[in-house]
Structures are given as C-alpha cells and as structure tokens.
C-alpha cells in the first residue's frame, strides 16, 4: 500500500495535464444559457487595469496634469478638500446638500409617482389622461427645459429640486404602471373566488406583485436623479457636489472635477447597493414563481 511501483508513478498526471484537464461541470454550465458565471474578479481586474493605465499615462508625462492629473493628486486633493472644504464650505456640507436635493426629489417622485403609476395601470381613465404629458416630456433632456424652470420658479431651491424630480418621476410612474400587469390572472381569480372586492384584489394581489418592478423603477429613477444633479446645480448654486465640479472646471482645477465625479459615482453606487439589498429582503421571491 505504501510503496508505489514505478509504473503507477509514471501514470500519475503531471501538473500541466492537471491544469489543462476540464473540471467536472454542472448541467447547463457549458451548453447552458450564455452569460452565466461570476464576474467579481474580472471587475477587479478591469478597475486595476484602468487605474494602472491612468497612473502610467501621468507618471510618464504623456499628458499634462491640467488635462489628466495623477491618481495620487486626486487623493491629495480629496484629503485637502475634506480638511479645509471647497469655496469656504466644508466638504461634507456639499455632500449633504446634494444628497438631500436628490433624495428630496426622489421621495417626492415616489410619493406622487407610485400612486399615479398604479392608478394608470389600473384605470383606463387615468392612463388616458396622464399618458400624453408624461410621454411628451420624458424623452426631453433636462437641460432643455432648465431655462423654463428658471423662468417659472426662479433660481432658488424649487427649480433645482423640480428639475431632479422631473427626471426621477417618469421612470417611477412607468415602472409602477407596468408593475400592475405582473399579477397572474390565476392569482387575481383566486382572490375573487374567495369573494374579494376590487379594492382587496388591488391591495392583496396587484400591489405586492408589482413590488419587484416598483423597486427596479426606484433604482432606475434614483440613477436619473444623480445624472440630473449637475444640471440642477448649474443654476445659481453656491453649495453642492454639482456646483463643486462646475466651479472647479471654471478655474481649471481638474483634480477637484475628477474627485467630485468619483464622489458622486460612489454615493450613487452605494445607494444602488442599498436598494439591491432592500430588493433581496422585500421581494426574495422575485423571478422564482
């Protein structure tokens, strides 16, 4: 048992053969749906390569720092803005102001948009009345109607929040509206056969089954909100991340511009993760029945 004959030792596959040999697979792993598999390490690699190219381009002096500052400059700038603020306002206040503008607009859009979208899904009257205005303004870029916002609502907080609100509102209404169609006819019939009223069917069947689409709509909506933030803070703002990026660009402070962009992206991404977490808790059944 302990002693192996030379013959059997020769048969043992070498390291190379073992690496090249195919692993056992589960059905569907090879001849399955295209696009399966974990992407975490590739994502890490992609970020690492981008950072490396960025560093290389600046370290070799191929591009002037005015156009592309070095990664370390961004970090240094971030620390200095964190400590001393930007244009006399502490960094965290910029963050807080922008975040509250986006979230204020987002909450407002949810409070008005979700009931409206659900009503549009369930009532042809509501759909007929509200479909044209929403479909009309939805594809227009916020920058195009920004001047109107300023003329109508001035340069204060109202027009800023309204601009973000409008960009969040449409996807939320449309998501809630199409979520209404998620319930299977059997689920609706089951409720009616127990003597449910129309209202009970909406409350106990339509609304819960619309939740996955509503959460997706909220995710898309908040994304649009961050996209519109910079446009909103073009209007006579003195605080906020969008303002920080815009005014830094006017003074050619490229490190602050890039830093601001990264901070906005980071906050938006963190919130996206939060909604995904909520999604797993609230609708763990999504796509499973």
């Amino acid at each position: 048992m302990t002693e192996r004959s030379p013959a059997s030792r020769r048969k043992a596959p070498g390291v190379l053969a073992r690496i090249a040999r195919a692993r056992p697979t589960k059905p569907g792993e090879i001849y399955g749906v295209p696009g399966q598999g974990n992407t975490l390490w590739l994502s890490v690699l992609s970020i690492a390569v981008l950072l490396f190219v960025w560093w290389l381009v600046t370290a070799m002096g191929w591009v002037k720092p005015l156009f592309v500052p070095a990664p370390m400059d961004i970090v240094t700038k971030f620390i200095s803005v964190w400590q001393t603020g930007f244009t006399g306002t502490p960094f965290l206040e910029h963050v807080a102001i922008s975040t509250s503008r986006v979230f204020g607009a987002f909450l407002l859009a949810c409070v008005i948009g979700l009931p409206l979208g659900l009503a549009m899904g369930m009532s042809p009257v509501m759909r007929g009345l509200f479909d044209p205005p929403i479909e009309f303004y939805r594809p227009i870029p916020p920058l195009a109607y920004l001047p109107l916002m300023i003329i109508w609502f001035g340069i204060g907080e109202t027009s800023k929040i309204l601009l973000i609100f409008l960009s969040v509102f449409a996807p939320i209404v449309l998501g809630a509206r199409s979520g209404v169609k998620s319930a299977a006819i059997e689920q609706i019939h089951a409720a009616y056969s127990f003597g449910a009223t129309r209202w009970q069917v909406m409350r106990f069947v339509i609304l819960p089954s619309a939740m996955p689409e509503i959460l997706t709509a909220m995710r898309i909506g908040i994304g649009f909100g961050w996209t519109t933030l910079v446009a909103a803070e073009m209007v006579a703002a003195t605080k906020g991340l969008g303002y920080m990026v815009l005014s830094a660009s006017q003074f050619l402070q490229t490190p602050v511009v890039i830093m601001g962009i990264i901070v906005i992206a980071f906050i938006a991404f963190a919130f996206d993760l939060l909604i995904r977490f909520v999604e797993r808790r609230v609708v763990p059944w999504k796509g499973r029945m």
């Binding site: 689920q187 019939h189 409720a191 056969s193 449910a196 819960p208 089954s209």
Partner: protein, 262 residues
C-alpha cells in the same frame, strides 16, 4: 340541490379578423351534492370555459347556472377554485397562503390561522407553515392550493387540471389524496383533466366534451373512485378489465374528435 347548468352557450365575439367562436353550445349538466364530475376532452372543447362559468369569472351568452336555487352571477366563496399553477402568492408563507381566503373575508388572524392549520394537517403539510411557497416542490405547492380552497368550506370545489404539472408518481399520490379529502369533506367537485386514466379513476360522473362548437357528447357514470375508497388498491382498480374497457371506449371517442378536427 347542487349546481345545475341550464342550456348554457358561450360565444366569444369576433376579433382580429377571427370569426366568432362557439366556445360552448347548449350545455346541460348537473353537479349533485357529493358528486365528483370530471370533464375530459380534446383541447378547445370548452372545459376551461365551463369551469370559468361555474366559478363566475365569465357570464354565459345565453342560458343560466343555478347553485342551490340561486342564479350564479359572479365569483363567490361557495365555489373555490384550485388552479393548475401560478395561483399561490409568493410574498406570503404557506400558512398565510392557506389563510388568504379567510383574510379576504375579514376573519381575524388567530382564528384564520387556526382554521388554516387544520387543513394543512389534513394535507400533510404540518411543519411547513413558515416556509416560503416558492421553496416547495410542485406537488406540495398544489397541496397548499387545495388547502387554501378548502378553508372557506365551499359547496363546490372547482379544479382546473390541478395535477397537470406534476410528475407521474406524485400525480397518482395526489389523486388518492384528493379522493380521500373529497370522501372526508363531502364536497361536490368539478374536475378538469387531460388524462383519461385520471378522469376514470377519480370521477363518479365523466363528461366527455367535443370541440367546435364546445359541447357535451357523452356522459358516463363511474364506479372506480368508490371502489378505491372502499379499500381496493388504486393500481388494481386502474388495471381491472372494466376500467380498461371504458378507457379504450373513451379514448376512441377523443381520438375521433381529434381526427375530425385535423
């Protein structure tokens, strides 16, 4: 008493360059107390339309349905439906799914959970009260659906191919389970299936339907479910000479319909 279907026709109006469809033509049928009526027929014969009529999801174009002397005008808790699938609510656990009908009727939480637990026990689902329904197997989901239908103590249980999505073994077990429940609860049942063997084994009355227009062509009285409930093993009932003879007769009728349609 019971349900009587009196000269009922359903015509689906023309649409999309399609002529009007005679889904059901002059159906006369009664479902008496404690009767187990099975509808069988080629696809398009109107079985499901008939079930939707009884459930009240659909109104007849002409004729009427009468349940215990009252005309059927819409869905109601006296007729519970067991669907083929997709009818459970995945955001509720097993217990709340079973108690859903009682919740809709405004019965308090502890009371409805008590009743639901009783039926969960009857269907062998004890211990799964807190499980999410989407983690259950198809057979167990179907038992949850049956338990839910029973909680409101309906007069009539309507089953729309409830076992169609199950594998053969689970299906035979489920057939026996449904017969036992029917025997214990004394409900009337209207049951749709595509399987001739299932239809013969389970029904006390078999209604064979035929398409274009959907109509009842044959009615058989069946002894087999009684034989099973009196103690004969299911497989032996299904292998008896009498069973096989009727099975072939019914198959011939259905194949003739399919060929006429082709």
């Amino acid at each position: 008493m019971g349900l009587s279907i009196e000269d009922v026709s359903v015509v689906y109006p023309a649409a999309d360059r399609r002529p009007p469809v005679d889904a059901l033509s002059r159906i006369n049928l009664t479902i008496d107390d404690e009767e187990f009526v099975v509808a069988l027929g080629a696809s398009g014969c109107g079985k499901s339309t008939l079930l939707n009529l009884i459930a009240g999801f659909l109104s007849p174009t002409s004729g009427r349905l009468v349940l215990d002397g009252q005309a059927v005008t819409g869905p109601g808790a006296d007729r519970a439906v067991v669907f083929q699938k997709h009818a459970l609510l995945p955001w509720l656990n097993v217990l709340d799914n079973v108690a859903f009908g009682l919740q809709v009727q405004g019965i308090g939480k502890s009371e409805r959970h008590k009743i639901a637990n009783q039926y969960l026990g009857m269907l062998g689902l004890d211990g799964f009260q807190g499980a999410p329904v989407y983690t259950l197997s198809g057979g167990m989901q179907q038992r949850v659906g049956i338990a839910r239908a029973l909680t409101c103590d309906p007069r009539l249980l309507l089953m729309d191919e409830p076992l169609g999505a199950l594998d053969a073994l689970t299906r035979e077990k489920a057939q026996e389970l449904i017969l036992n429940i029917w025997n214990d609860t004394h409900k009337s049942v209207f049951f749709i299936t595509h399987s001739v063997e299932e239809a013969l084994f389970m029904g006390t009355k078999l209604v064979v339907m035929s398409p274009r227009p959907g109509r009842v062509t044959h009615v058989f009285d069946l002894p087999f479910s009684r034989q099973f409930l009196d103690g004969a093993p299911a497989r032996r009932v299904k292998a008896s000479r009498e069973f096989i003879e009727i099975r072939e007769e019914v198959l011939e009728i259905i194949f003739a319909d399919e060929e006429a349609a082709a």
